[in-house]
């Protein structure tokens, strides 16, 4: 029955002169999502609307699922398009449409016509009334409710006539690529993939960095991160994943610094390295999955201590989220199952039994000086290990 979809978008509509940029990006992202679907599609922009038209047979559910991954889309409306063959015929088509979409007629409805083609013989009000009448005649149980209808039936008179009433919610947000690029610190946990998702929802393109610590972490842990990046890239578009060998830095910190401060100092070096890579790759900020108070290294004091080394803004989209809320998003975007695979990541291997929860920045800075002898060299070497994997969801 359906051959096309009307794509609704919200915030883009208020973007003034830049609007076309946003719309073009949205079309681009829709096309990227549709490459994963069976069938051929055409994505068109006309009169402030975006349409997806199927040019061949297609899988309805699969197409909707993939359209739901496109940021900027607030609603997906499956549309029935009919030729204008007189008002009589239109009434018949609408009755047939309602009959098929709503088998149970014990519902209320309201017709909302829009006449983009002004030479149509009836005006909007007349169309509303006459279609309503046709439906009431066809189905005895159906009732009209103009205030809170169960079904809002839209009739759009254009070159063709579009009939739709179902709005499948999209993810919202802004199209990827309309807001610069950020560098995500991706571990194998639950939080960081969600953080990547949240930031890319605001139109930010993302790259990611993962700190690998062989032999303390395994190839499976690395594969897990690749798999997570792949799931995130379903929403965010292609991701360049940077894999950095962090073992020597970690061991050096272990040798030279108090063990209860290991995690903080280690994270300071992760931030420094991430920022280096971010700069080289044209990123405008760092993204982490931190949430206040979740673990010792995420108290206000600890965040201050890690933030201290950054010159770029650090975006922490989960900062006010509870763990359960983060888990819910990760389940929604399908990273949860992968995140909970039990492979060690570099953050957990040397964690102290009682790490500091209120680190003193000055003390941390003083202890970090113990590393002066070799740390610059080690950071340089670590940066040279950068292995870049381009990750795309296909």
């Amino acid at each position: 029955m359906y051959k096309s979809f009307l794509i609704k978008y919200a915030e883009i509509g208020v973007k003034g002169k830049n609007r076309y940029l946003f719309e073009d990006r949205l079309c681009e992202q829709i096309r990227y999502a549709l490459t994963r679907c069976e069938g051929e599609f055409e994505v068109t922009k006309s009169q402030g609307r975006i349409y997806v038209n199927a040019l061949s047979a297609f899988d309805f559910d699969e197409t909707v699922e993939n359209l739901k991954t496109v940021f900027g889309v607030t609603g997906i409306c499956p549309v029935v398009s009919v030729e204008d063959e007189g008002f009589e015929k239109l009434c018949q088509d609408v009755v047939a449409y309602m009959d098929q979409v709503y088998p149970d007629k014990n519902i209320t409805f309201k017709v909302e016509a829009r006449r983009a083609r002004k030479n149509y013989p009836k005006n909007s009000m007349e169309i509303n009334c006459d279609i309503g009448e046709a439906l009431l005649n066809a189905f005895p149980e159906i009732r009209v409710d103009v205030h809170k209808p169960d079904v809002l039936l839209r009739i759009e008179i254009r070159e063709k006539i579009n009939i739709y009433s179902v709005v499948i919610p999209g993810p919202g947000g802004l199209p990827i690529g309309t807001n610069g690029k950020g560098m995500l610190l991706l571990s194998g946990g639950i939080d960081s993939p969600v953080a990547g998702y949240m930031i890319s929802k605001r139109g930010v393109k993302i790259d990611a960095v993962y700190f690998n610590a062989p032999p303390y972490t395994s190839d499976r842990a690395k594969q897990k991160v690749i798999d997570l990046a792949r799931i995130v890239s379903k929403y965010s578009g292609p991701i360049n994943l940077h894999i950095i060998n962090f073992t020597d830095i970690q061991l050096y910190i272990y040798d030279k610094c108090p063990h209860d401060e290991l995690t903080i100092i280690m994270r300071r070096y992760m931030m420094r390295i991430a920022e280096e890579i971010a700069k080289e790759n044209g990123c405008l900020g760092l993204i982490t999955g931190e949430s206040i108070g979740q673990v010792a290294s995420q108290t206000m004091q600890s965040l201050m201590a890690t933030n201290d080394v950054c010159t770029m803004p650090v975006y922490r989209p989960l900062i006010g989220f509870d763990k359960q809320e983060i888990v819910e998003v990760s389940e929604k975007i399908d990273t949860y199952e992968t995140s909970i695979l039990p492979y060690e990541d570099c953050c957990t291997i040397f964690v102290a039994k009682h790490p500091v929860t209120k680190p003193n920045l000055n003390v941390i800075r003083i202890h970090e000086r113990n590393l002066d002898e070799k740390i610059d060299e080690l950071v340089k070497t670590a940066l040279e290990t950068d292995e870049v994997i381009e990750i795309k969801y296909q």
Partner: protein
Amino acid sequence: MLAVLIVKLNTFEGVNMTEVYLDNSATTKCLPEVAALMTHILCEDYGNPSSMHRKGVEGEKYVRYAREVIAKCMKVQEKEILFTSGGTESDNIALIGGAFANSRAGRHIITTKIEHPAILQTCAYLEEQGFEVTYLPVDSTGVIRLKDLERAMTPHTILVSIMHTNNEIGAVQPIEQAGELIKRMNPRTLFHVDAVQGFGKFRIYPKRMNIDLMSVSAHKIHGPKGVGFLYINEKAKVRPIMFGGGQQKGMRSGTENVPGIAGMAKAIEELFVDFEPKINYLYGLKERFVKGVSSIEGIQINGPARRDGAPHVVSVSIEGIRSEVMLHALEDKGIYVSAGSACASNKPAISATLKAIGVEKQYLDSTLRFSFSVFTTEEEIDFTVKCMSELIPMLRRYTRH
């Protein structure tokens, strides 16, 4: 999907070092002559043994050949061999099929605490189905006490399942004595032996040892994965657990895995050529390795160390180093080993076997399994010992608190 695979391949690119594979209890490399025979069957003689034409007869010939080889090496009848998809399926048919076929005589089953999950999980299922299971303890070398078995036997015991060789520590059970004891106490009790690790390392003759059912897997003996067999004594009552086209006299429906079955037979033929020298060679490797690592400080060998145990498995606990770290450090040198047992080590659960033999707490998470094959060389053993003695002091410096 392909992209991900390519990514995977790329990450391993440039790694061009010699590999020392010491994880032969997890799986073994397939013999080239086995692979060649299988390729020939897959591409040329690919007929379905159930087909009535010549191509089908060709396929059937390979299955017959396999039956003949396998029956002969164990001195049993050809009709007593049932081809399966491997150790797990054989264990499942033996336990589930054996238990349900004999449930009128009783609902009691005996097994041990150190069985493979294929046995333990199947027993858990049978418990849900109303059977009662007794789990025999083991001593500090991982061996059951016959007294315990004798005490556990009741007039309602329908099935006893004991593994021949333990996959984690190489402990070998007194199968012959157990078989004798079971039959003396209750001739109708079925005796199942999980010989996945023991087959090909020991001569096992079911008839002589009162074994009614015995599970074997091909990929542990240089054969292909996905194939194995279950020996079923002609007098033993066992019900099928899979239904369909009635292949293998209805005991296990589904088209026979002809290339796998033939490959397994070929591997078994090779296995018993110069059998005793091979086993002696394996014991030699084991002794060389045990002697080597024993000189490293803070090392403990679990289970039977000398000729009491299996010739190919050594379990080593290394004080102060988590097994996962040691495993990846060795991997870095091209040496592949297991943490505990490979079948259980994907989930870092504490090994039931190690617990059952009373390994101390601080060693439980610090245990590696080294398992050898006839392709392992003395140089590889020496190289491994050398790497371990270098790595261990280094890794001990960095520990979790």
